[in-house]
Amino acid sequence: MTVAPQAATLPQAGRLRSTVDFYLTTMRLAVQEQLQYRTANYFYMFGMVAEPVIYLVVWTTIADQQGGSVQGFTAGYFAAYYIVWTLVRNMNIVFGAPYWEQRIREGDLAGALVRPLHPLHFDIAYFAGWKVVVIALWIPLAIGLSLVFDPVLDPRPLEITVFAVAIWGAYLLRTMFQSTLGMLCFWTTRGAAIFDLWMTLELLLSGRLVPLPLMPDWVQTISWFLPFQWAFYFPIESLVGDLSDAELARGLAVQLLWILIGLGLFKIAWRSAIRRFSAVGG
């Protein structure tokens, strides 16, 4: 069998340049799309603020009752922790595992698979664009919360730089693990129990519910060896806490390690998932 002599295909732009171009184009698209829904986005972010404000009020009250601090953490620390929390939490919103089912059921995956680019690239690029809008919307919200709760925040330039990198690291880390979990949707439409279990573990072991130093020692030890805190507690602590340069560097390195582990797991799961999809169809 030989290749048919047909009309020539269009030439192809260089690989690296094309990849950068794809990411920038998709991010721009996401920003445009999100700007259409700026009011909805604001309401959404206000909704997101409810959770940390509750935690903040609880911990501030406890601190006040215990003479101004809980295990050495002052009300000002809690205020800073939970205000930064709001940004980290929003950065952590990625293409969630349960949405893979919708993607398969509605045929979007089939559409994505006939294109010469892995759908993970689109997810990363699209949500990254959304984050640009999130950060812009977060700034006035953070100012408002700061006026009410009076946070204590005095980061060094290095801490600000590490934080700026770590929130994107957190984004990538969570993308990898949520995408890997999402592969379950290729085998079952009842993955919700596993997704919920994962979310519960994440809630307890990430620093989302409580700053990790307030958890029992054994919980802190376990959480150190799991990916959750590197997508949540570490980015917050890099800005709010008092980590040494070595701890900041180690935190970024562990984040990178978990991103690579997540990517590896995703690749393995994807290969099986796509084999299954090709066998049984959408």
Partner: protein, 326 residues
């Protein structure tokens, strides 16, 4: 002749779970699950030469979409071989995906909340099309489908037909050499169907693209396809010129006749299908057509007489009514 599409004994078997309705059956299925094999595509073979437009016909569930999905690399065949422009589709090589497109009617691939122009930009980046090539190609397609004002509106504000047109532009920006069109005119009004048909014909002429088209609208097939492949129960029933379909499957022709006295009973000449004033339509066995026509002319005072093949829709209905093979 070198082939753009080569399919040999292609097969797809699905294993589907099966159980009766009700609580007892549900409980039993906990212990013992039953399943059965469905041969969606059952050893089909055909070749398509470059630049050819082929109609791929069959009733719902015949295996058309499964075949198109195998040819576009979405489904892995259970057996047999497929090659598109020399590529094995199931390998899903990027070089292969850049040379094909799959358009499925009623499926939207464009960003819902944004104008189609923005989605085209995304496709440019995905297919790595240099801007110098992209802009003229995009403008050519927009002009051909006359969607200049539509591509600036958010996709969600477009009607079904308008959406299909802008969708097609997006699917062809990378100038694919093989087009798999799965019911591209489904749900569209007649004018919109015509527009898309003429577009496909023009694209085919200009770019020498090979087209495999499925449609339930025979007008699409008649307008575009000299050749049709009919698939039913996963097997190919017919592969040849559209005109040959009637020869193989339609055992009858229709004779229309206007008589001076329209009340005469013509039952002895053939089956009277209907009467419309003095105009009577008869169905007669194909082999006896000329004989019956001669008898009518000899016996009756005939004002006008026509002999017609069975309409293609009726032929297709006859084909689709075929029983599955044992």
């Amino acid at each position: 002749m070198e082939h753009a599409v080569h399919v040999s004994r292609l097969e797809k078997i699905f294993v589907v779970p099966e159980r009766e309705a009700g609580l007892v059956a549900a409980t039993k299925s906990l212990v013992r699950r039953k399943s059965r094999e469905v041969r969606a595509v059952d050893g089909i073979s055909f070749d398509i030469t470059p630049g050819e437009i082929v109609g791929f016909l069959g009733p719902n569930g015949a295996g058309k979409t499964t075949t198109l999905k195998m040819l576009s690399g979405l489904l892995y065949p259970t057996g047999g071989e497929a090659r598109i422009l020399g590529h094995v589709p199931s390998k899903r090589e990027k070089a292969f995906l850049r040379r094909i497109t799959l358009v499925m009617g009623n499926r939207n691939q464009l960003q819902w909340d944004l104008p189609a122009l923005d989605s085209y930009e995304l496709n440019r980046a995905i297919y790595r099309i240099p801007r110098a090539d992209f802009t003229p190609m995009r403008d050519e397609l927009i002009e051909l489908l006359d969607v200049g004002d539509l591509v600036r509106k958010p996709v969600r504000q477009l009607s079904l037909g308008e959406r299909m047109k802008v969708e097609i532009v997006g699917a062809l920006l990378h100038r694919p050499q093989v087009l798999f069109l799965d019911e591209p005119t489904i749900g569209l009004d007649v004018t919109m169907q015509k527009r898309i048909r003429s577009f496909v014909a023009t694209y085919n002429e200009r770019h020498g693209a090979t087209v495999l088209l499925t449609s339930h609208y025979m007008a699409d097939v008649q307008a575009l396809c000299k050749r049709v492949i009919v698939i039913h129960h996963g097997r190919i029933l017919f592969d040849g010129p559209l005109t040959g379909l009637a020869d193989q499957f339609a055992a009858y022709k229709t004779i229309g006749v206007a008589l001076e006295d329209g009340h005469i009973d013509l039952g002895r000449y053939g089956e009277v299908l209907h009467r419309d004033g003095d105009w009577i339509t008869l169905r007669v066995p194909k082999a006896e057509t000329s004989q019956v026509a001669a008898r009518l002319l000899a016996d009756q005072s005939v004002l006008d007489l026509t002999i017609e093949d069975t309409p293609i829709e009726d032929v297709i209905e006859l084909v689709f009514a075929q029983e599955p093979p044992e």
